[in-house]
């Protein structure tokens, strides 16, 4: 059966029999690939022809040498607009999303993404502005960036902000590069080579330390789930560049000795880095900048509600202390003329300040340089600014109160059926363990997660943090109603019950999703990472000559 016979996706979402292009194997396809929908000559979009005058006029300009021309057109799909739209709409139907149901993915803060934010980001004067447009015509965009920086300073207690990093991990990289620059400026660049990271940390923390050329030293947690102060003190010394600590931690616990932690780090001459991924729990309650931290990244896509987009875009601004400020990435949006207090007050009242002028400041001699092209993920800044202004002071406080309330509510309603290795006050999330279900009934956390799928709910984060056996990391956020939380509690209790009565059924889950459990081992063993047109092999060519020869064959004119 060839591609031309690919069936339409069936509405049930379970697919129809169809021999895939990978060579004779019977595969059921839920939705064919866009390439399998392609028919020569179909198209969705047409472009105008250039004018005769334009073609005549340009004739005297230098021609492209034949050696740089492409031999054959790239085999992009050829589809009508309706076919295109249906394809992607059908794919959309295969996704779980916040806008459909509860999505308590721990550590990711899957809160509601308000639609007015999208309206704002799509305003043509913002969405269609070019990053290199002269400052004279970009005053609104620059003012927005400046105002957002001012708000983030006030929220975090840091005296300076860079909006440039494109994601949380990118903010970490920025923070650690500044750490390195700071120690180098003090003549301690060679001496301080270690970064301390608690064993509960996100994997990005140690990976970031490596990218900056640092050695990671893991600090164990104590029996209460906090960082072990004695172990920390023992590890601190003149060879330590920084401590990277997530607070509240990935266990959903506030480090209740954070004052002593920061003090010890600073006494050792190291930089105190706070991973701000879990800021959603502490708005208005704890300001890292005024508590002695030197640097923190924000995740605008978590705390400040910008959509996660199926895995990005995010935005990871960093806030820094005075001693790191000189090293912030360039350029920075600045108020080049006008009075800051006046501009802030006017913006609060929805007024512009006529004589204010905003600019990009490139003159930062100690800056680590740029970490991203242009100024960062501006579209995310628009959304975050809209969100912060909508919520205001009271709203931001309410966010954290209600997020923490919801997490603690889940904790007390579920801790009798799931083990809770660290049974303490929760912040934004609560981490259960499925070890009892595994030990007593052979039901793993993976089985539990897959069973949750059959209830239309996205499972919590699983098997993280690594220090919790069979971890189930639940972050409800503040935007889920009590009814939704109660439904989730009932689902989790039912599954715990089922683990006792019919564990085999849980092993078969999920049964209501578009596909069942997928063979991930096979995917890694024989990587199939792209569509094959039938004439491309995966055998890596030995050298360039061979690759060019293969390419020439591939690009031979086709009929």
């Amino acid at each position: 059966m060839n591609v031309a016979e690919a069936p339409p996706a069936d509405a049930s979402g379970r697919g129809a029999a169809f021999t895939g292009p990978t060579g004779g194997e019977e595969l059921t396809v839920v939705e064919p690939l866009i390439f399998e929908r392609s028919r020569p000559g179909r198209r969705a979009v047409r472009f105008p022809r250039s004018s005769d005058a334009a073609r005549e006029r340009s004739a005297g300009q230098p021609e492209l040498p034949s050696t740089v021309l492409r031999a054959a057109a790239p085999r992009l799909p050829e589809v009508s607009e309706l076919e295109l739209l249906r394809h992607f709409n059908r794919l959309a139907h295969l996704n779980q999303a916040i806008d459909l149901n509860f999505y308590p993915l721990g550590s990711c803060t899957m809160k509601y993404n308000p639609k007015v934010n999208e309206w704002a980001a799509a305003l043509p004067a913002l969405a269609e502005s070019h990053p290199l447009d002269p400052e004279a015509v970009s005053q609104g965009s620059l003012e927005l960036m400046w105002l957002l920086s001012e708000l983030l300073k006030e929220i975090s207690g840091f005296p300076a902000i860079s909006l440039q990093p494109a994601a949380g991990a990118h903010g970490e990289l920025t923070g650690m590069l500044m750490t390195r620059a700071y120690h180098r400026a003090n003549g301690e660049g060679e001496q301080r080579r270690k970064v301390l990271v608690p064993d509960s940390a996100h994997g990005t923390n140690p990976a970031t330390a490596t990218m900056v050329g640092y050695e990671t030293v893991t600090i164990r947690s104590n029996e209460r789930g906090g960082i072990d102060l004695e172990a920390l003190r023992a590890a601190l010394g003149p060879d330590v560049a920084a401590l990277m600590i997530t607070n509240p931690s990935t266990l959903g616990i506030f480090e209740d000795q954070i004052d002593q932690v920061v003090e010890a780090v600073k006494a050792a001459g190291a930089i105190a880095y706070m991973d701000g991924a879990n800021l959603n729990a502490i708005l208005g309650r704890f300001r890292p900048g005024e508590s002695g931290f030197d640097v923190m990244h924000f995740n605008l896509h978590k705390t400040f509600s910008t959509p996660h987009g199926g895995g990005g875009p995010g935005a990871g601004p960093v806030g820094v202390s005075e001693r790191l400020e000189p090293f912030l990435p360039a350029p920075m949006p600045v108020l080049a003329a006008g009075i800051a207090d006046e501009v802030r007050a006017n913006a609060r009242a929805g007024r512009s300040t006529p004589d204010a002028r905003f600019a990009m400041d490139w003159d930062r001699p100690h800056s680590i340089g740029k970490v991203r092209s242009y100024f960062g993920n501006f579209g995310m800044f628009v959304r975050a600014y809209t969100y912060i202004r909508s919520n205001g002071d009271d709203g931001l406080r309410t966010i954290s109160e209600d997020a923490v309330l919801a997490a603690n509510y889940l904790r007390v309603r579920l801790h009798d059926v799931y083990d809770l290795p660290y049974d303490r006050l929760s912040k934004h999330e609560v981490v259960f363990s499925g070890r009892r279900q595994k030990r007593e009934h052979g039901v793993t956390t993976l089985d539990i997660a897959k069973a949750i799928l059959d209830h239309g709910i996205h499972p919590p984060t699983i098997y993280f943090p690594l220090i919790v056996e069979e971890a189930l990391m639940v972050e409800p956020t503040e935007t889920e109603s009590l009814e939704t939380l109660d439904v989730f509690i009932n689902v989790m209790r039912d599954i715990a019950e089922q683990a006792v009565t019919e564990p085999e059924a849980l092993k078969r889950a999920p049964t209501t999703t578009p596909v069942g459990r997928l063979d991930e081992a096979a995917a890694a063993r024989r990587p199939d990472l792209r569509y094959r047109f039938g004439d491309v092999t995966d055998a890596p060519a030995a050298d360039t000559r061979e690759r060019r020869r293969a390419a020439a064959t591939r690009n031979a004119p086709r009929t």
Binding site: T22, E26, L27, E31, I34, R43, V45, F47, P48, A53, S58, L64, P65, R70, P74, R75, L85, A97, I98, Y103, L123, A125, H130, V137, S138, G140, A169, R180, G203, I253, R285, F286, R287, G309, G310, G311, G312, I368, R372, S373, F375, N377, F378, G379, V382, S390, G392, L396, V412, F464, L482, P510, T513, V515, L518, A524, L529, P540, R548, A552
Partner: protein
């Protein structure tokens, strides 16, 4: 306003279940010495009020009526259907597809994206995306260091200055040296990477040569020769490409590029004052285990249904921690989806039309300015859809035109003083004959 659904009775019920008297009790674990002092933030706004504020800020931007700005970011038609696809909340409000059974939409679209990028670049494997072209370039160069076990990166001065800045920042941490290979800046010179200087720079410790096609100044580089020079020194060629140009220009895999990085913004992503964009990266299959970032692979379930999963995750930070190929976690999935929908919407014919129209209008623009005696090409040799032109008194006249609603391209002198009194002018399929006539007239008026 807040988006919390909780009523006071709801809160009471939760507090009661928890056994707490007040919500403050839930924050008792914050040491008193570090509790937040009062902050000074604005009061909440209603939707109506916040719209007014955002409309105020947008209104402070003055949208140019005519613009020839490119320099790495291009104004192309974004078909309405692309906006419709990425606006779907099932895509926009999902996260990283950690649970493949309920993320097949995202996963399959990324697999399609990877396939499209492989096809465009002539490479064997492409990642699920990076933050932008600059970080993709930096990550590709660092990957070249891992692959060759060498620690110097040579970069052509024809690569976007912003990309070179980011590359420098990324390399500063691990102490990787970056050497710049000049381009031929002679008046009427080629404006392309100096081959002799490239060969000189490619010493035994150099991991790769990074070069752009077309280069920042619009000039078409001899990429096959640059690849040969790199390979002769045991180094790799990292090609930085503009994706719409690949409808016309040779695919990097065909001229011997070892790694490819690109900014995907021209493929259906709004300019949005610099982001979010989407970085593209492609490589040969043999080097896949050194690639940074996410990869999606096809597999099947027990019932024989085709499905897609995140794969080869042993390269990534959440498994490998300090031994990961990169710290990248989030990518730019929604922007990658925009590129996937865009490439599917325009198809091979449409992409070629975009490239040809852009190129024709750039040539039309250059010819019109030359014919009027207003400007002349700074470099000899072929260019793609962007052209560097000598324009006497460029900075002053550029500023004067801005006041008339015309942005006469980019002034490269900030990055390279040798290019004083030049402008870098871009055209796309949206550049009209009238736009060009308006630029010519306006420049004539302020000779």
């Amino acid at each position: 306003m807040t988006y919390s659904p909780h009523t006071d009775p709801d809160r009471e019920r939760m507090l009661e279940a928890i056994g707490a008297a007040t919500v403050d009790d839930l924050f008792a674990d914050i040491p008193t010495s570090v509790r937040a002092s009062d902050w000074d933030l604005p009061a909440p706004l209603t939707e109506q009020e916040v719209r007014t504020e955002l409309a105020r800020l947008a209104g402070r931007n003055r949208m140019p009526e005519v613009s020839f700005l490119g320099a790495g970011v291009y104004r192309h038609l974004i078909p309405a259907v692309v906006g419709e696809v990425i606006g779907r909340p099932e895509f926009a409000t999902a996260y990283t597809p950690y649970q493949p059974e309920v993320s097949q939409g995202t996963l399959q679209s990324i697999y399609e994206f990877q396939s499209l990028i492989c096809e465009l670049t002539g490479m064997e494997v492409a990642t699920a995306s990076h933050y932008d072209g600059a970080t993709a370039t930096a990550e590709a160069a660092l990957m070249a260091c891992r692959l060759t076990r060498r620690s110097i990166i040579a970069v052509s001065a024809g690569v976007n200055p912003d990309y070179r800045r980011v590359l420098g920042t990324y390399c500063s941490g691990p102490g990787i040296e970056v050497v710049t290979v000049p381009i031929d800046l002679a008046e009427d010179g080629s404006g392309t990477t100096d081959l002799a200087r490239a060969a000189e720079a490619l010493g035994p410790d150099v991991a790769c040569l990074v070069a752009a096609q077309p280069n920042f100044y619009g000039q078409v580089e001899p990429m096959a020769e640059l690849a040969d020079a790199a390979h002769a020194a045991g180094a790799l060629l990292v090609a930085v490409v503009e994706p719409t140009s690949l409808a016309i220009l040779q695919a990097p895999g065909d001229y011997g590029a070892d790694l490819v990085a690109a900014e995907g913004q021209p493929l259906g992503v709004p300019m949005s004052f610099g982001g979010p964009y989407v970085g593209l990266m492609a490589a040969p299959m043999a080097s896949v285990r050194q690639m940074p970032g996410r990869l999606v692979g096809a597999t099947r379930d027990a019932a024989g249904r085709r499905g897609y999963v995140l794969t080869l995750q042993a390269r990534e930070q959440h498994i490998r921690r300090e031994k990961a190929a990169s710290n990248i976690c989030t990518n730019q999935a929604l922007m990658a989806l925009a590129a996937t929908a865009y490439l599917s919407a325009v198809g091979p014919t449409g992409l070629r039309e975009v490239a040809e129209l852009s190129m024709t209008q750039a040539r039309h623009l250059a010819a019109a300015l030359e014919d009027a005696g207003l400007a002349e090409r700074r470099f000899g040799g072929a260019y793609f859809a962007e052209v560097t032109m000598r324009l006497p008194d460029a900075a002053r006249r550029h500023a004067a035109l801005v006041e008339q609603g015309i942005v006469a391209g980019h002034l490269p002198e900030r990055d390279d003083p040798a290019l004083r009194d030049t402008v870098l002018l871009a055209a796309t399929e949206l550049t009209t004959d009238d736009d060009i006539a308006r630029l010519v007239d306006a420049l004539e008026a302020i000779r």
